[in-house]
Subunit: 242 residues, 2 copies
């Protein structure tokens, strides 16, 4: 299977601020059993780790190839879509999808460009700032009385769902429009925020949840490159006329 | 939910000849996250085990309640159906089902009587004698180049599939957020167009396809009423500062 025909090769697992290195090893093993191979670690607490190697068993190759970065933005470089995995409902967040609902769309996009699955810290999950970087929220349904899904188990479930949904996704027409690079979208958000300060709509002392709210709105729409150029042009015109 | 209405309460996980007690603990945790609670251990190598307790975290209650027996027959007492989990194809075995294929039947039977999910030893899997006790064979599809699914990870995938299939069967309606009234959305478009003229971004003599393009972008996002109020507020601030 060529990379273009195998969306699993375009699916990047990003583990943020992982506390227990054993979970990283187990996550690598989980990924490899389902045919994923790109692992990125954002500021892991302990790395490298013999415990990670022990839990990875036959997937140590994947561990050694893992990229270690300082920030989530670095981890998402080159991706067109980031799906944040969350165990709980958030205010102002995207309505969460189940893995089964999310998988076809993730696979369709991963057919042509890198897509990230973003997992938070074992105890605290993804921060609001980290979730703001994601355009999709995925929640694995659990027993409401015991939601304590292990990190590597969550990676296993999500990657299982993707592998299992692959046949269905491949049978769908792949006429997805090209989406803007996430780094360009971030530049748009920065420009937008700057402009809202300039017109006194946003108070730097009391920004409240305005930017997260606007991010959520645009995340739902999945901005295309030409649209991004139009929006940036409007912001520049506002500032020029201010 | 009464036990009769909750098939998950009738699903029994049977672990045969488990070598690593940590896997038993992790399996208990996996079960509990998906709402299963009946664990039976057939001749575990080491039991009880502090390692099992450590990996079970909040599911130690399930570990303490686990029944320990000498033979698979004892473990299956009272069950109407046993599904053997197998990582490999067997001669003379039942044609294996995927978890997704197996789940509806397992749930249907578990609606009225106990059903067992039978997992073999980490290294050797289920013996032929053990498989002979099973009326269904389930195989979790994996990367053909790396089939090494961890035992607790297999329990997690199978129990996730059962919980998810149950939810699909009950087909709960999704929570739809309230969308903005279309007349209000039209007033937003009018306000936006007026503002773009005011900041000289849009030329009334040559409007080109700008407004249709922006309409398309916002139509994809399905604006909510509060978001519409924020956007109208931004437009007003732009005009005031112009």
């Amino acid at each position: 299977m060529t990379p273009a025909a195998n969306p699993l090769a375009h699916l990047r697992v990003v583990l943020c601020h992982t506390s227990h290195p054993g979970n990283i090893g187990a996550a690598a093993r989980a990924m490899k059993t389902m045919g994923l191979n790109e692992l990125v670690l954002v500021a892991p607490l302990a790395w490298p780790s013999s415990e990670a190697e022990a839990r990875a068993t036959g997937a140590v190759d994947l561990l050694y190839a893992a990229r270690v970065v300082d920030t989530l933005d670095e981890a998402l470089a080159g991706c067109v879509l980031a799906a944040g995995m969350s165990a709980r409902q958030r205010d102002l967040s995207h309505p969460p999808l189940t893995p089964r609902q999310a998988a076809p769309r993730l696979l369709a996009e991963a057919a042509t460009a890198p897509v990230a699955l973003v997992f938070g810290n074992e105890t605290s999950g993804l921060s609001n700032a980290e979730l703001d970087r994601c355009q999709m929220l995925v929640h694995i349904p659990t027993n409401p009385d015991f939601r304590s899904l292990n990190l590597a188990a969550a990676v296993q479930v999500m990657t299982y769902e993707l592998r299992t949904s692959l046949a269905d996704a491949l049978s769908q027409p792949a006429d997805m429009p090209p989406y803007a690079d996430l780094a360009d979208v971030e530049r748009f958000y920065a420009h937008l925020e700057q402009t809202l300060y300039a017109i006194d709509f946003l108070d730097p002392a009391q920004p409240k949840r305005l930017m997260p709210r606007l991010r959520r709105l645009f995340a739902r729409t999945r901005i295309e490159p030409e649209e991004l150029a139009v929006l940036r042009g409007i912001l520049t015109a506002i500032q020029k006329n201010n």
